[in-house]
């Protein structure tokens, strides 16, 4: 929000916002997901762009709400909301055409593109294009970078062992890059990957910082 405001955007934070309904929707409990999604949809009555800083939530609103609201009275309304929903980096690159100046020290990072960013929202190239504007930041590609980190919302709880094996693979591949920091567009993945690094640290493995792209950009380009 601070970043957007700094770029001259007037940011409104609708005070009643909650959750997009994704956890229940992806667990089969659509009955329970619908009222939650509806409560959120009511927060955006004005004809303004809606910026979502996490690709999976953006994907839910943009692509799955239509399935959830199919046949409901407010179906049209949520279609309109979907049409003005942007994932943060997508907005920064395509709409704002942001110009960034790197003020930070040289750093090597790895970028984890979430499944929603790659395959649902198709916005994974934007994070790269933002970072490519930063002179001192070097992205190191990791192996199997398109593979899921194992988060998957309630999947992580219901299939904890499979999810655990997946995040172990992901952290191993990220660690191999030798970079110090992992950047992502998705809060869920960051929580998963960051939590796994922290846990593995207890058994003596090297950890990495995890950071959301917005926070990363804010720290590098805006703080005096």
């Amino acid at each position: 929000m601070q970043l957007l405001r700094h770029e001259g955007v007037r940011v409104i934070f609708p005070k009643n916002q909650g959750c997009c309904g994704q956890p229940a929707f992806n667990s089969g409990y659509r009955e329970q997901a619908l009222p939650v999604a509806r409560a959120l949809s009511k927060c955006f009555p004005k004809e303004l762009p809606i910026i979502v800083p996490s690709a999976s939530c953006a994907g839910m609103i943009k692509h799955h709400w239509q399935e959830l609201f199919a046949g409901q009275e407010d179906e049209q309304y949520v279609l309109d909301i979907a049409s003005r929903t942007y994932e943060l980096t997508e907005y920064l690159v395509n709409e704002l055409r942001i110009k960034l100046t790197d003020l930070g020290e040289p750093i090597e990072i790895a970028v984890h593109s979430s499944c929603s960013a790659q395959r649902e929202m198709k916005v994974d190239q934007h994070i790269k294009s933002l970072i490519s504007q930063l002179d001192n930041v070097n992205i190191i590609e990791h192996q199997r970078k398109t593979e899921c980190c194992g988060f998957g919302g309630t999947f992580m709880v219901k299939q904890a062992d499979i999810s655990g094996a997946m995040v172990k693979d992901k952290t191993d591949c990220l660690r191999e890059t030798g970079a110090t920091t992992v950047i992502s567009q998705d809060c869920g993945c960051l929580m998963n990957i960051g939590g796994a690094f922290e846990k593995q640290m207890a058994s003596g493995e090297k950890s990495m910082n995890t950071q959301h792209i917005a926070e990363f950009l804010w720290q590098r380009c805006y703080k005096e």
């Binding site: 929000m1 601070q2 405001r5 007037r10 940011v11 409104i12 934070f13 609708p14 005070k15 009643n16 909650g18 959750c19 309904g21 956890p23 229940a24 992806n26 667990s27 089969g28 409990y29 659509r30 009955e31 329970q32 997901a33 009222p35 939650v36 509806r38 409560a39 499944c115 790659q118 395959r119 649902e120 398109t146 593979e147 899921c148 194992g150 988060f151 998957g152 919302g153 999947f155 992580m156 709880v157 219901k158 299939q159 904890a160 062992d161 499979i162 999810s163 655990g164 094996a165 997946m166 995040v167 172990k168 693979d169 929580m191 998963n192 960051g194 939590g195 796994a196 922290e198 846990k199």
Partner: protein, 473 residues
């Protein structure tokens, strides 16, 4: 033990088997890379997928008509047609044909539908000897295991394991871990069997209604031998495999082989249209086709679920599935593993039986991205999850609807719903969650075995937004 518990046990066991996991991972890496090399132009790929999708979609829309046409053409060509509504019926039909012909030994080309109906076991109970002639199938038949992949059934084994297996069963042959030598050994053993077999059984990749042609895709020549060397050939396939015309085949075949193994075309492509004619020197004297329903008509009845039946069994969805890569095909415990199995099996066997499969998916979407006929696999998995917990979710003819509904889960989600759909409650809840964060339970369940529990932020986003002077309305 119920099916769900059994599924979890298989997963646990699979995750502990490092050797198998390593074998699968490296095989899948290879398959993914080969596929990617075939499709290096994204635009072309998207056109090809759309074309393949529309051919399959059209075939399903016109299925009843096309099946009638197919039957008529096959009969004209001299191929006998049998309809089986259930697996049991299909087994009966095949064993009756074999008995009538006095067949005692059969060779089989690879056929997933024969796995689906449990044909081998059934025939062996009737004292008919069955020999798998596809190399992968031959290996797992020796090991007494089911296939772990629909295209590469023995992919979970590496060559050392295969060498040991061969040595155990054929001690007269010298031990070797060389892939070529192993293949030659299998070839030698199989050749002898081919000569003696009374009948051949095969699957079908596409059945062309226009001409009554059965198409069979393979790489080893065993399919050709199984269908031409013995006097009797029985083909079995699902009713959804019918397509309208011969000109539909290139678009599908091309996508099948490129998606499956990264080949532009397989070594063998067989088009079977009739038994041996009086002036011909070889080929079977009788050809039969068994068309199996086994729940497919029920799936086709619904416009959304019908997409499941577009599948051309390329296996690409499992090659790219991170869950499949970690647990392998056997963990699923079904004929069809991976994403397509997760979608198809609960529909065939009922959610009450095997609905738990749908939990083993992070909805990452890698499968749908590569499916050559654009089946929206994650969407279907999620839809089945909804059917599983709500008997009245839709009027779709799904077996075992609502059977996975559990009261504690319903209560948990209902509380969640109350909190998150009411702004005041949500804020109170997040105030509690953030202010009392020292209370965060550090053992939230099994998942905390692999990662630490995230602590709620010290201040909620609402508080931060207000404090930092954002418009808050």
């Amino acid at each position: 033990m119920n099916q769900t518990e059994a599924f979890y046990q298989r997963i646990e066991k699979a995750l502990q088997n490092d050797q198998v996991r390593q074998n699968i991972r490296s095989a899948m890496n290879g398959l993914m890379q080969k596929r990617a090399e075939q499709f290096n132009d994204p635009e072309e790929l998207s056109e090809l997928r759309e074309k393949a999708r529309s051919i399959r979609h059209y075939s399903l829309a016109k299925q009843a008509e096309l099946l009638e046409k197919l039957e008529q053409k096959l009969i004209e060509n001299g191929i006998q047609v049998h309809w089986a509504e259930t697996a049991q019926q299909a087994n009966n039909i095949i064993s009756t044909i074999l008995k009538d012909a006095g067949a005692k030994t059969i060779v089989k080309g690879k056929s997933m539908v024969s796995e689906e109906i449990g044909l081998n076991d059934y025939l062996e109970q009737q004292q008919i000897e069955v020999l798998e002639s596809d190399l992968g199938e031959f290996i797992i038949q020796l090991a007494k295991e089911p296939p772990s992949h629909i295209v590469a059934p023995a992919i979970h084994k590496n060559r050392q394991q295969i060498a040991k297996l061969f040595h155990h069963f054929f001690p007269e042959l010298s031990y070797s871990e060389d892939v070529n030598e192993l293949t030659l050994m299998a070839r030698k053993i199989l050749r002898e069997k081919f000569e003696k077999a009374d009948a051949g059984v095969s699957g079908v990749n596409f059945a062309v209604a226009e001409t009554g042609t059965l198409c069979l895709v393979e790489n080893e020549g065993n399919g050709r031998l199984s269908t031409t060397s013995p006097d009797l050939h029985i083909a079995i396939t699902g009713i959804e495999k019918v397509v309208e015309k011969l000109s539909d085949i290139p678009g599908l075949l091309n996508m099948l082989t490129k998606s499956a193994t990264g080949q532009t075309i397989t070594t063998y492509f067989n088009m079977i249209s009739r038994p041996r004619q009086p002036d011909e020197k070889d080929g079977p004297r009788a050809v039969h086709l068994v068309l199996l329903d086994n729940g497919r008509s029920r799936i086709r009845f619904d416009n959304d679920l019908l997409e499941t039946l577009r599948c051309i069994r390329c296996g690409s969805c499992m090659n790219h599935c991170p869950v499949y890569v970690h647990v392998g095909g056997h963990a699923y415990g079904t004929t069809y593993p991976g994403p397509i199995g997760t979608v198809l099996e609960p529909q065939l066997a009922g959610i009450n039986n095997i609905g738990a499969l749908t939990s083993a998916c992070s909805l990452c979407g890698a499968c749908a991205e590569v499916c050559p006929v654009k089946i929206p696999l994650p969407k279907l998995i999620n839809q089945l999850r909804a059917e599983a917990v709500n008997e009245h979710f839709s009027d779709k003819p799904v077996l075992g609807k609502g059977s996975l509904r559990k009261t504690p889960e319903v209560i948990a989600w209902s509380i969640w719903q109350k909190i998150y759909s009411n702004p005041f409650l949500y804020k109170t809840f997040s105030w509690f969650a953030t202010s009392l964060n020292f209370l965060t339970p550090s053992k939230l369940g099994k998942w905390s075995k692999y990662r630490t529990v995230p602590k709620p932020a010290k201040k909620s986003l609402n508080q931060l937004a207000q404090e930092n002077g954002f418009d808050y309305e």
